[in-house]
């Protein structure tokens, strides 16, 4: 029990070293290997997930930018359309005005021509009347009577004309 035997100590030391090596080979190494593999796998998956998240984030910003761009584009197009529509409107309006003016001028010219024609015709008619009246007066008996009646007739005719 209390006797110390060096050979048994040495044998025990050898035993323990053998046990250490054996357990290292059969227990610790395999389990650690499996755990490491699992860890590696988990790390890999985590990395992949992170990467995917990053990609998604990038895509999201891209889409947001696209949407913003589209909005700007839309506004621009709308603005341009409005501007061109405005121009068209202005053009149409001015065209219409110009045309109206032309029409009016033409109408005025035509009316004036007509007026001049009518005046001429009237003048001619008055002249005829005057000549007529003169002829009639010449045919009348009393000069003074004739004068006044001629005057009255003239006035009457002229008043009816005007």
């Amino acid at each position: 029990m209390l006797s110390i035997s060096p050979e048994n100590i040495i044998v025990t030391v050898v035993n323990l070293l053998v046990l250490f090596v054996a357990l290292r080979i059969f227990l610790f190494k395999p389990v650690q290997k499996i755990l490491e593999e699992r860890q590696k796998e988990a790390d890999k998956e985590l990395n992949e997930a992170k990467q995917q998240l990053e990609e998604a984030e990038t895509l999201k910003t891209q889409y947001e930018k696209n949407i913003e761009d589209t909005e700007v584009q839309r506004k621009k197009i709308l603005e341009e359309a409005r501007k061109s529509a405005d121009q068209e409107y202005q053009r149409i309006i001015s065209d219409a005005k110009r045309e109206a003016k032309t029409v009016k001028t033409q109408a005025v010219t035509k009316a004036e021509g007509e007026k001049a024609k009518i005046v001429k015709k009237a003048e001619k008619e008055i002249a005829d009347i005057v000549v007529d009246a003169a002829v009639k007066v010449a045919g009348a008996k009393n000069a003074s009577d004739m004068d006044s009646s001629l005057y009255d007739k003239f006035l009457e005719k002229a008043g009816g004309k005007s």
Binding site: M1, I4, N8, L16, L19, F28, E41
Partner: protein, 230 residues
């Protein structure tokens, strides 16, 4: 009474199982060494059974048990030995398993190897060699030597003495505990042969056995972490 003492002594005696001569020197192999082989066989067999056909996914219950045992024990030892002593965890865990199984193998009718002073001496010797080797490896021989005059030069003899007292205390604590537990169990068995020994056996053979394994590893880890700390 003399009868009891004789019987006890016989129980305590470590028998020579076989002997052979090696170069004219008679080598007596004790029972403890043979039981150590049995313990080794049990441990290695268990390890092989538990770790065959291991997979990364869809693990079997066997593998789950192996993983649990290894991770729990190594993390426990790692916690004790500290961050600098990671390379010694496997050895310490092996010794923990060995002492643990050795201490409870008495339940199966074998004489615990740890009841033999030679085994505990061997364990303690390996521990102190490991501690000092770790110190030299981690700090270099100069710093390792310098540690003997720390904190002041006066304590140098005590520090040198520690090289002897540390393993001696380790060895004797384990040996004494197992021996004491064994003696008390034998006495209880003589006084009350039924029921009561089973109750006490739970404490002395199972609890105390595992506790002593833990204490041995705890102290060795403490010495190692002390030796390797910066």
């Amino acid at each position: 009474m003399g009868n009891i003492a004789e019987e006890l002594m016989e129980q305590l005696e470590c028998e020579t199982v076989f002997s052979f001569s090696l170069g004219g020197y008679q080598v007596n192999i004790y029972e403890s060494v043979v039981v150590t082989w049995i313990v080794m066989a049990i441990l290695i067999l268990f390890a092989i059974i538990l770790t065959t056909n291991m997979k990364v996914h869809n693990i079997s219950k066997r593998q789950a048990l192996a993983e649990t045992i290894v991770t729990k024990l190594t993390s426990m030892v790692e916690g004790m030995v500290g961050p600098h002593g990671k390379s010694y965890v496997t050895y310490l865990t092996t010794i923990l398993l060995y002492i643990g199984v050795s201490n409870i193998i008495g339940l199966f009718g074998f004489k615990p190897p740890t009841k033999d002073l030679n085994v505990t001496l061997a364990l303690a010797l390996m521990s102190i060699i490991l501690v000092e080797a770790a110190g030299i490896y981690q700090r270099g021989i100069k710093k390792w030597l310098h540690k003997f005059v720390e904190p002041i030069a006066v304590v140098t003899p005590i520090n040198i003495l520690e090289i002897v007292t540390k393993p001696l205390s380790l060895c004797m604590r384990l040996f004494g505990n197992v021996l004491g537990a064994f003696v008390i169990m034998e006495l209880i068995k003589m006084v009350v042969p039924y029921v009561l020994p089973a109750v006490f056996s739970c404490y002395f053979d199972l609890f105390d056995g595992l506790l002593q394994a833990y204490v041995f590893i705890f102290l060795t880890s403490l010495y190692i972490s002390e030796a390797v700390e910066e």
